[in-house]
């Protein structure tokens, strides 16, 4: 899962994990960019390299290049020198000499987890958009840079995983605003062209509710919502008809709130449309949650919204027997 900073990527990862767990799959969430707020949302301590259970069917761990490297060196009979490498600062030089080496260590670990079949689904909370592309292009870059050896093997195994849609897909997350949408489009093209990884549906997060299909503009009280006077009059009429008198101040507050939401909604639907035009892949839309910081109840509500939409996708997203990374 990839997306620009601030679009709610981690929250969406958590919601998707809940959806999968509900349908009986065992899920692992892999955090690759340090502290992400995931642990907070589930009310647990910060994640560690060792796996922990977040809730029924959902485990999580954080994958750091350093920890992945020591593990990998041990596994390749180089454990003895691992500590010396670290202390000498040579590791930093090697990692610099081989761009993407840190990424490949993490991706290699993910590939190992996938092949172990310990989980039905592995969700990777990837680095923010721009970095996500370099994160996922690292194995290809390495194949060119490094001629031989175990790193090369590791890189080609990861490339094989990424280019097989039944094993790995990338789901982009965005909000319906210009900059995140543009960045999502650029990332999508970069990923398809340069990584050759399949894109799953794109998630548009943070949509104000009246764009969520059922409530149309018309339900929000007829006249042109930008005509403030007319809107106030309409609210006032409704209040009288309902036998529920409102003060002039209340009417004007309501009208302000309704116009503001309408204006933002228009920007949002415009951006969501632009996104569909540029990226002809299914969109899953998630509501903006006005009523609370992200905690487990909010994640469950987003999971409900995802489930409802995933069911109507023609190509089932979740539920294949084999492990899969996103």
């Amino acid at each position: 899962m990839a997306g620009k900073g601030g679009v709610g990527k981690t929250t969406v990862v958590a919601a998707l994990a809940v959806v999968a767990a509900r349908s009986g799959l065992s899920v692992l969430i892999a955090e690759v960019e340090g502290k992400s707020g995931l642990s907070k949302a589930f009310g647990v301590n910060d994640l560690e390299y060792e796996e922990i259970v977040l809730s029924k069917g959902i485990s999580a761990r954080t994958l750091t290049p350093d920890a992945a490297l020591s593990e990998w060196l041990q596994g390749n009979g180089l454990g003895r020198i691992a500590r010396r490498l670290n202390a000498s600062g040579i590791l930093e030089i090697v990692a610099t000499a081989v761009p993407g080496m840190k990424d490949i260590l993490v991706l290699g670990k993910i590939k190992g987890l996938e092949q172990s079949k310990a989980f039905d689904l592995i969700l990777v909370d990837a680095p923010a958009a721009g970095h996500a592309v370099s994160f996922l292009t690292s194995p290809l870059g390495l194949l060119e840079a490094v001629g031989v050896g175990p790193i090369k093997t590791q890189a080609s195994d990861v490339v094989a995983m990424l280019s097989d849609p039944s094993r790995a897909q990338v789901m982009l997350v965005t909000t319906p605003e210009e900059t995140p949408v543009r960045e999502a489009i650029e990332t999508a093209f970069a990923l398809e062209d340069r990584v050759g990884v399949a894109l799953g549906p794109i998630i548009v997060n943070g949509i104000y509710a009246d764009d969520l299909a059922s409530t149309s503009e018309n339900d929000l009280g007829k006249p042109d919502l930008f005509d403030h006077t007319a809107l106030q009059e309409s609210i006032s009429r409704d209040a009288q008809a309902s036998g529920y008198p409102l003060s002039a101040r209340e009417i004007s507050d309501i009208a302000d709130a309704v116009s503001f939401r309408h204006a933002r909604s228009r920007v949002q639907s415009h951006q969501a449309d632009e996104l569909s035009k540029s990226l002809p892949i299914p969109q899953l839309r998630l509501p903006y949650l006005f009523d609370g910081e992200i905690g487990f109840p909010q994640i469950e509500r987003l999971a409900d919204a995802l489930s409802a939409q995933i069911e109507s996708l023609s190509d089932p997203l979740i539920g294949e027997p084999a492990g899969k990374n996103e």
Binding site: G6, M101, G149, A241, S242, D253, D256, F260
Partner: protein, 396 residues
């Protein structure tokens, strides 16, 4: 839209305002996590400075395309671009102001640095052609940050600008730029590679053997070609470390000057506010202090009624039986409208709660501004003007 009460009560009134901060600064470093409007805010600050008569420049890393277009930025450029005054000057503005912008090209900046400290063209060409150097200059974590600081130093030295606003890179760690010069120096001064590349200097054969073992092990993993490249780089770089170290010291001195100010940018989300406070702490650990906080995208509030109260009123209204005089349609519509208001009151009060006391926690004296979530996205100079007006509005 109502001007909402954002908790700037008299007892924590800031000692400085953004207007005075702008007037007294030579350098403003904008820092914050991704997606909080850092680039936009940096541009708004530079525009405001230019409009008040300063020669200002905004240095940015990767602006959204439409913002770059709005500013007339052609793309990556090694040199600053002067922005046409018709785009940003308004009637009544001081005539002496100038606005420039540049998009940082980290690799070109690094190349220039190498050329500057190399002992002749031959050494610099050898370095520029080395593939390990190419990795350092384009892929090493922290290089972008270091080059942003390097460019800042250069722009500050040249004397063409009264104010330089730096938009820090969207890095994995938003404060990498503080450590970037040290990290690079550490890499360039690595003892082990110094031993390999300059054996004459060591005199310790034992050390040499241990190092050779390590290098052989590394070669097994990443291949000998890569190792050869590294060695070639360190040979070529010989003699330049001193220049780089001096440069890093003067970059640090510039950041420490009293006319260099840190401005944190955040959104009112709880996680973002917490992160901003953490940044402020880290900046403090480095011996610098935060002079300003700009909170972007604060949801507007409309009136003073509580979200929960409004929501229960809406629910009660929906629960009333329909009568001939009070049709369900009117009640439905009205209760939905009440819910819309309730939504904004809830999110607004939560955001204000997140921001409560933030000023005190950042330290007294920091200027704080709240920029409401605008009904439109920000991609034009007019919108930047609006943001600047909100930042620089005298606190009410």
């Amino acid at each position: 839209m109502n001007k909402a009460d954002l908790g700037t009560s008299a007892e924590h009134q800031p000692a400085i305002t953004f207007a005075s901060l702008l007037a007294e600064s030579h350098v403003i470093i904008c820092a914050g996590s991704g997606g909080v409007g850092k680039t936009t805010t940096a541009a708004a600050l530079a525009i405001q400075a230019a409009r008040s008569g300063e020669r200002s420049i905004v240095v940015t890393i990767d602006p959204a395309k439409r913002l770059a277009d709005a500013l007339g930025l052609p793309g990556l450029a090694p040199d600053p671009v002067t922005i046409d005054e018709h785009l940003w000057r308004r009637s009544g503005d001081s005539a002496s102001g100038q606005l420039s912008a540049m998009m940082l090209d980290p690799k070109a900046t690094f190349d220039a640095l190498v050329a500057r400290y190399a002992d002749g063209v031959e050494q610099s060409e050898r370095i520029l052609a080395n593939s390990f150097y190419r990795s350092i200059s384009s892929a090493l974590g922290g290089t972008q940050e270091y080059m942003a600081m390097e460019k800042l130093h250069e722009l500050s030295e040249c004397g063409d600008y009264d104010l330089i606003v730096v938009d820090t890179p969207p890095s994995r760690n938003a404060l990498d730029f503080l450590d970037a010069p040290e990290r690079l120096l550490r890499l360039l001064n690595n003892r082990v590679f110094r031993v390999i590349t300059a054996p004459a200097r060591t005199g310790f054969r034992a050390a040499g053997v241990a190092v050779q073992t390590l290098v052989r092990a590394i070669s097994r993993v990443i291949g000998t070609e890569v190792v050869d490249d590294i060695v070639a780089f360190f040979r070529a770089f010989e003699g330049m470390e001193e220049g780089f170290r001096e440069r890093a010291v003067s970059v640090r001195a510039l950041i420490a000057e009293s006319t260099t100010q840190f401005v944190l940018i955040t959104s009112p989300r709880r996680d973002a506010v917490e992160e901003a406070e953490y940044f402020a702490e880290r900046i403090g650990d480095h011996g610098y202090r935060v002079s300003g906080l700009i909170v972007n995208r604060v949801h507007p509030m409309f009136g003073s009624e509580h979200g929960d109260t409004l929501r229960s009123r809406a629910a009660a209204l929906r629960g009333l039986p329909a009568t001939e005089s009070a049709p369900a349609s009117a009640r439905d519509r009205l209760s939905k409208h009440l819910d819309v208001l309730a939504d904004f009151q809830s999110v607004g009060s939560r955001e204000r709660h997140n921001l409560d006391g933030v000023q005190l926690r950042l330290g007294r004296g920091a200027a704080v501004a709240f920029v409401p979530f605008l009904a439109m996205d920000v991609h034009s100079i007019e919108a930047l003007d609006e943001i600047a007006a909100l930042i620089f509005a005298a606190p009410s």
